[in-house]
């Protein structure tokens, strides 16, 4: 750790004070206000807001779609990381940098284009819709756009680990008569587990909070294609602030527990490094 005694370099109280001040104003006070507002509801009101049939359907869809998308990203991410680290092919650098595009592209743009690609007249929809695959205004559409949004996470967590992988372990495995698949399955994959879990958790967390792209592709039908953030907005537009806050608090608590989980996982995955 490159920190020094606080007496030597100037500016400790100034910078720490400002950091805490800005953090409080912009983050801590608003979050407290959110919990405060939820606490002003009676338990009955709170329960009625967060446990309606519509809200339950929304949670299920939010977490279900984010989970499925994260699982898909787990496999796609591993595949992409493997190909980008191990193989050479023309255009590899381009593919490598395109993986980051979903992070840089505004989510609204992603949602807009995905909604128009998979409708019946769209570029991909004209082939898929006749097959009965509705890639727009359906639950599948939500998963699809979440796969797009979460694509970079697993790739970028697995890639550095794979680059650092000790080649001699592979060689040892091969010299002991292991097939290529056995080597991958028993030697390489276990070292990737921590990175895979971290990437999965990041993609999942991103999918749970995602709003901008889903609102374009889902069609927002209550009970069917309505995710929790869309439900919050719907409640806000009815000026039902208490109910909206109650649902928001449920989401906040779940995302905070996920943040703690991610940090624990990261610490666990780094446990041999110090």
């Amino acid at each position: 750790m490159a920190s020094v005694n606080r007496r030597v370099l100037p500016g400790f109280s100034l910078t720490l004070g400002y950091t805490v001040f800005y953090l409080s104003i912009l983050v801590l006070i608003p979050i407290t206000a959110c919990f405060f507002k939820a606490a002003s509801l009676s338990f009955q009101e709170f329960w009625h807001a967060v446990w309606t049939e519509r809200a339950r359907a929304a949670y299920l869809l939010t977490f279900g779609a984010a989970f499925v998308a994260a699982i898909v990203n787990l496999f796609l991410g591993l595949l992409l990381a493997w190909v980008l680290v191990r193989y050479t092919f023309p255009g590899k650098k381009l593919v490598d940098s395109l993986v980051d595009l979903p992070l840089a592209l505004p989510t609204a743009v992603g949602g807009l284009v995905y909604s128009s690609l998979y409708v019946q007249k769209g570029w991909l929809g004209q082939y898929l819709v006749p097959l009965g695959i509705q890639g727009a205004y359906s639950r599948f559409a939500i998963v699809l756009v979440l796969v797009f949004v979460g694509l970079p996470f697993v790739v970028r967590t697995v890639q550095p680990i794979l680059e650092d992988f000790d080649p001699e372990a592979e060689e040892a495995s091969a010299s002991l008569g292991g097939t290529r698949w056995q080597t991958f399955r028993n030697i390489i994959l276990p070292t990737l587990y921590p990175a895979l879990i971290t990437g999965f958790a990041l993609a999942f967390a991103r999918g749970v909070g995602e709003y901008g792209s889903v609102v374009f592709v889902s069609g927002n039908m209550p009970y069917k294609t309505e995710i929790a953030p869309i439900l919050i907005v719907a409640r806000l537009e009815e000026f039902a602030y208490g109910e909206a806050t109650a649902i928001a608090v449920v989401l906040l608590i779940i995302s905070f527990s996920m943040l703690v989980l991610i940090n624990l996982l990261e610490r666990w995955s780094m446990r041999y490094e110090h």
């Binding site: 490159a2 005694n5 609204a108 570029w123 990175a195 909070g209 901008g212």
Partner: protein, 371 residues
């Protein structure tokens, strides 16, 4: 000579053997590569191409007209270009402050503070917007006050801001080494207290005396530009700090300590040592922050109130055009944001080569994947 060659030969053989052991069969290599390219093609390339094709479906003239002739679209571009820089500057200042405090000092609660900076990443943007509505909205905690006499806070706010700038300047330009300090500089808290009181009093008097701000008039924060700035700043809050902290930790405090021992002031250390050292990390953080701020949708959606021509930023304008079935218009705005995203990516690749300290950080890629 001979022995050397004999030693090298088995090594070369071992390298070849390792190479062979790590090589997948050709059909696996080709198959996986094709699948990977297809995945990126379907998920990323086709959508991006589609954006530009749809945007230009009315021809270049129609594209230009969609972008510039519609006054609401024009206003949304201007609004985005006002909101984003303000939020960006606020977060850059915060990033410097947080990086200096966290990377240069050890204090209790340091880990907690670092974790708190990450908090906005785990809050759904819609919930972030809702928080500000709860505080500043019409039914919010400060709502009735803001509606009746909102502008009465302005003299206090401006004066407090001036006090903050005063304290900042004082600490920056105070000679850091005790040897070069004059009498007055040795009592920082007296100077800060008296000076702050003076600055506050003077500014407050000036503003009240000349009645700069209207009385008994409502100050709009939600459904107006300040709310957009707040929501954008919240969502993009961690980016600059997260980039600067690891870079500053990797550079280490030695050069700054050397400058200090040579009698440099806080500002001189910052200007001549710290900023050049972390320059590329800063640019990198700013680029990521800017991309996210430009494209922010959820948080801004909740606080904007969707007043066309007033509180629609570019992503919100896309949504409105989409709802109005004006797809060429929506795609025209989207293409501008896509161009920006592509530029962001190109700048990011350039910079990744220029930030050498990134290479030896413990987990750089995990961190940057959180845009």
């Amino acid at each position: 000579m001979n022995t050397e060659a004999a030693v090298q030969k088995p090594q070369a053989g071992a390298a070849a053997r390792i190479q062979r052991a790590r090589q997948d069969p050709t059909w696996v290599r080709w198959g996986l590569t094709l699948v990977a390219v297809a995945v990126v093609g379907v998920l990323v390339v086709i959508p991006v191409v589609n954006i530009f094709v749809q945007a230009l479906s009315d021809g270049v003239g129609g594209y230009w007209k969609n972008l510039v002739a519609d006054p609401d679209t024009r206003h949304s571009i201007i609004l985005t270009l006002t909101v984003v820089p303000i939020a960006l500057v606020a977060n850059i200042i915060f990033g410097f402050m947080a990086a200096w405090a966290i990377a240069r000092f050890d204090f209790p609660g340091r880990t907690l503070l670092t974790a708190l900076i990450d908090l906005p990443f785990s809050v759904s943007p819609v919930v972030a917007g809702l928080m500000f509505v709860l505080i500043f909205g019409l039914q919010g905690y400060l709502g009735s006050f803001l509606r009746e006499d909102g502008y009465s806070v302005m003299p206090y706010l401006i004066s407090l801001l001036a006090v903050g700038v005063f304290i900042l300047l004082f600490f920056l330009f105070r000679p850091a080494s005790p040897k070069t300090r004059h009498e007055l500089w040795n009592h920082p808290w007296t100077v800060v207290l008296v000076g702050s009181a003076g600055v506050f009093g003077l500014l407050f008097f000036l503003q009240v005396h000349f009645e700069v701000w209207p009385r008994n008039e409502s100050l709009k924060i939600i459904f107006a530009t300040p709310g957009l700035v707040l929501a954008t700043a919240f969502v993009t809050f961690p980016f600059v700090a997260r980039e600067l902290i690891p870079v500053m930790e990797a550079v280490g405090p030695d050069e700054e300590l050397a400058a200090l021992s040579l009698g440099a002031s806080g500002w001189q250390i910052f200007r001549h040592i710290t900023v050049p050292n972390i320059k590329w990390g800063l640019v990198y953080g700013v680029i990521l922050c800017n991309a996210r701020a430009m494209g922010e949708f959820g948080a801004v959606y909740v606080v904007s109130g969707h007043i066309a021509g007033q509180t629609d930023t570019m992503p919100l304008r896309i949504e409105k055009l989409f709802q109005e079935y004006n797809l060429p218009g929506a795609f025209a705005v989207a293409s501008v944001l896509t161009l920006l995203a592509i530029l962001t990516l190109m700048a990011k690749i350039k910079l990744e080569r220029k930030v050498p300290s990134r290479a030896n950080l413990s987990e750089p890629k995990t961190k940057e994947a959180r845009l």
